[in-house]
């Protein structure tokens, strides 16, 4: 039985937004989120009952984020820049700029693997289906991504903060 789409948004909206932020940065994340849920709403009646809804949404977000990245690459504008006014969007302040730069500097595959495993909580087998390639390759990409983040992110939060 298919539950009302409203419940899908309520349950997964937050996770998908966090995934989109890691994939694209704070600014473009909102467009990707909107594109993802509109596409999901369209396809929802045909989603198989056995499907993992979160993995399905992350797969759609993955494709939408690739669309955004491709559009960016066609534009001459610099892409390394972190969103100009994160606080205006109700997101973290300046102290996180370094973090977003470190995330943005990751190779696409590592950033994707980090987002899908550490933010969405998907198992590597599901991530391998989204990224293509083997489960081990997905696990390595996530591990390399974390290693690079640790190396490049200067924030003190990385060291010894309780979790």
């Amino acid at each position: 039985m298919r539950e009302p789409f409203e419940k899908v948004v309520a349950r997964h909206g937050d996770t998908v937004l966090r995934v989109c932020r890691v994939l694209l940065g704070v600014h473009d994340a909102e467009d990707a989120w909107s594109d993802t849920f509109l596409a999901a709403l369209r396809a929802y009646p045909d989603l198989p009952d056995t499907a993992n809804t979160e993995a399905w949404l992350v797969t759609i977000a993955h494709r939408k984020a690739i669309d955004v990245l491709r559009a960016r690459k066609r534009q001459p504008a610099p892409v390394e820049k972190v969103p100009e006014a994160p606080t205006a969007l109700g997101v973290p302040g300046d102290q996180d700029t370094d973090l977003w730069q470190a995330v943005a500097a990751l190779p696409d595959r590592q950033r994707q693997a980090v987002a899908y495993h550490y933010v969405a909580g998907l198992p590597y087998a599901e991530i391998a289906l989204i990224l293509g390639g083997t489960t081990d390759a997905a696990r390595r990409a996530a591990a390399d991504g974390i290693k690079n983040l640790r190396k490049n992110y200067q924030g003190a939060a990385m060291e010894g903060a309780p979790s």
Binding site: M1, F5, D14, R18, L38, Y44, G90, L99, A161, S163
Partner: protein, 198 residues
């Protein structure tokens, strides 16, 4: 385990999500994907769930019907593309507010009767002919729809009315006296009849 900065995995702020929800609601409507829009309103007979298809108001549900279950049923019977989207229900909410305030005696809303069929729908189509402040017995309604023997079936049609309050099944009473059964519970039926008798 502090594998990645907590910030990446901390919840997004509610304001951003609410704004994105509004954007989804508008985009879904513009793209023709808002198959069932719903909202809830407060009333003297408790919280009411209002749901509409593009054709019109399709469901009014009392709290005791369990709004979550009602939404599940709408997803199954109409479409799973169900979103909280109050804008489509603005007119219905306003007319209900006027009704409960004693400023409205008849509803002027497009209705979608697709949740009922056959004889039940026939009865429900005729119920608005019972004017504000009036009542009929189940037997009288059976005669009204041209099937005087179908008293029980009229009772079932009233009990399964998907649009209570707006389609006034509360104006149908047992010949034996008392308020009789009601989808919102007997107390709600008495509240509506008292309001209309004032």
């Amino acid at each position: 385990m502090n594998v990645i900065p907590d910030y990446l995995t901390s919840p997004s702020d509610a304001g951003t999500l609410a704004r994105l929800r509004g954007r989804l609601e508008r985009a879904a409507d513009a793209e023709g994907l808002l198959d069932v829009a719903y909202t809830t309103v407060d009333s003297p007979v408790g919280a009411l769930l209002l749901a509409a298809t593009p054709q019109g108001l399709v469901r009014v549900a009392y709290d005791i019907e369990d709004h979550d279950r009602v939404l599940d049923t709408l997803a199954q019977r109409l479409s799973p593309r169900v979103l909280r989207a109050p804008k489509r229900l603005d007119a219905a909410a306003r007319e209900l507010d006027e009704y409960f305030g004693g400023r409205r005696q008849a509803f002027d809303l497009p209705l979608d009767l697709s949740l009922s069929s056959g004889f039940r729908q026939l009865v429900q189509r005729h119920l608005p002919e019972i004017g504000y402040g009036q009542t009929r017995t189940y037997g009288q309604v059976a005669t009204l729809v041209g099937n005087p023997k179908a008293v029980r079936a009229v009772g079932t049609a009233c009990a399964t009315n998907p649009l209570p309050v707006v389609v006034p099944c509360h104006r149908v009473l047992p010949a034996s006296g008392g308020p009789g059964r009601y989808v919102g519970g007997p107390a709600a039926k008495v509240t509506l009849l008292t309001l209309e008798a004032a």
